[in-house]
């Protein structure tokens, strides 16, 4: 009896493109769910490319989506931590369906709410267009709910957390 195997070679770029795409897609779904209009295609591309670049160089720790209400309060907040692997093995998988079910847990925001994206880092990072230093809002007093793993790729994975 003969056997055959197939192997796939995935690069860091594949992992970075995949995870940044799933994270941005999840952010897009959340903004649509909350009725917050995104900032436009050019900004979207800048953000997706920056996140991908930082994942590829393994500097990115967490992508943060902050919802800023008209009264100045910042909630809810969504965090997307990225965890890196040493093996480089595995496939591309996502939990978009589970995330869609979790939408029911997300509370609405008042009209006029805007958003900001932050990234935190585990090591020094390469500057990216459209991104500058900033200060995150405090998460004191917010209740955290984990939505579990959002996407898995050969070199890293991303999860989602909801703070309200």
């Amino acid at each position: 009896m003969s056997t055959s195997t197939s192997t796939s070679t995935y690069t860091y770029t594949h992992t970075a493109t995949y995870l940044s795409d799933v994270i941005m897609g999840t952010i897009g779904d959340i903004l649509a769910l909350l009725g917050i209009r995104p900032d436009g295609a050019m900004r979207w591309d800048q953000d997706e490319q920056a996140i991908a670049a930082w994942i590829a160089e393994r500097s990115l720790d967490t992508v943060v989506l902050e919802c800023q209400r008209p009264d100045g309060a910042v909630r809810p907040i969504f965090e997307f931590p990225v965890t890196y692997k040493t093996t480089g093995q595995g496939e591309f998988e996502n939990s978009r369906a589970a995330m869609a079910r979790a939408h029911a847990k997300i509370t609405s925001v008042p009209w006029g709410t805007t958003y900001r994206l932050f990234c935190t880092f585990r090591t020094s990072r390469t500057p990216q267009p459209g991104w500058s230093s900033g200060t995150r809002a405090s998460t004191d007093g917010l209740r955290s709910t984990s939505f579990g793993t959002l996407a898995d790729a050969p070199h890293a994975s991303a999860s989602a957390r909801y703070l309200r």
């Binding site: 796939s8 995935y10 770029t13 594949h14 992992t15 493109t17 995949y18 940044s20 795409d21 799933v22 941005m24 897609g25 999840t26 897009g28 779904d29 649509a32 769910l33 009725g35 209009r37 995104p38 436009g40 295609a41 979207w44 591309d45 997706e48 490319q49 991908a52 496939e91 591309f92 998988e93 996502n94 978009r96 939408h103 790729a153």
Partner: protein, 160 residues
């Protein structure tokens, strides 16, 4: 003529690149119709630049494709992501059919949670729709034809 094309999204392409590929396919397909102006197509598709990126990134086009209707042409355009996107054999050639089309419309899926954004985005654009594309069936075509003939007959009697 019903056709389906699948475009490789991430990790083969990011959302912007996947949308640009879809735009190219729609452009090239509609360019075959002498009555369709490519510049008009570009103007309309630019309206979708943001929404399309969101739909692609969130994976919505994997199950709910865009539908291009132009005369007899019915073209569904979906995406695939993950490992399948890296092994997909794409066909990006212009899609034949509907050469006699004088009009065209691109239907964007109304998929939650982006349904409202989709409706808002396409509002006021004659060649874009968030309504479900309705495929004309043979029976529907016959019904439509008989209704028209009946109405014509009544009009003729009343006018006589």
């Amino acid at each position: 003529m019903q056709r389906h094309r699948t475009i490789a999204a991430s990790p083969a392409r990011n959302a912007a690149e996947a949308w640009q590929t879809i735009r190219g396919l729609v452009d090239d397909t509609l360019e075959r119709r002498s009555s369709v102006d490519r510049a008009d197509v570009d103007v309309e598709l630019t309206v979708l630049d943001q929404l399309a990126r969101m739909l692609i990134s969130a994976g919505h086009l994997e199950k709910n494709p865009l539908v291009l209707v132009a005369g007899g042409l019915w073209l569904e355009i979906g995406t695939v992501s993950g490992g399948k996107a890296l092994t997909l054999e794409e066909n990006l050639n212009p899609v034949p059919g509907g050469a006699d089309a004088t009009d065209w419309r691109l239907h964007v899926p109304q998929v939650e949670p982006m349904a409202k954004l989709a409706r808002t985005t396409v509002k006021g654009h004659a060649h874009l729709s968030a309504d479900e594309a309705v495929q004309p069936t043979e029976s529907a075509a016959k019904t439509a034809a008989s209704v028209d003939l009946d109405a014509l007959e009544r009009w003729a009697r009343e006018s006589a």
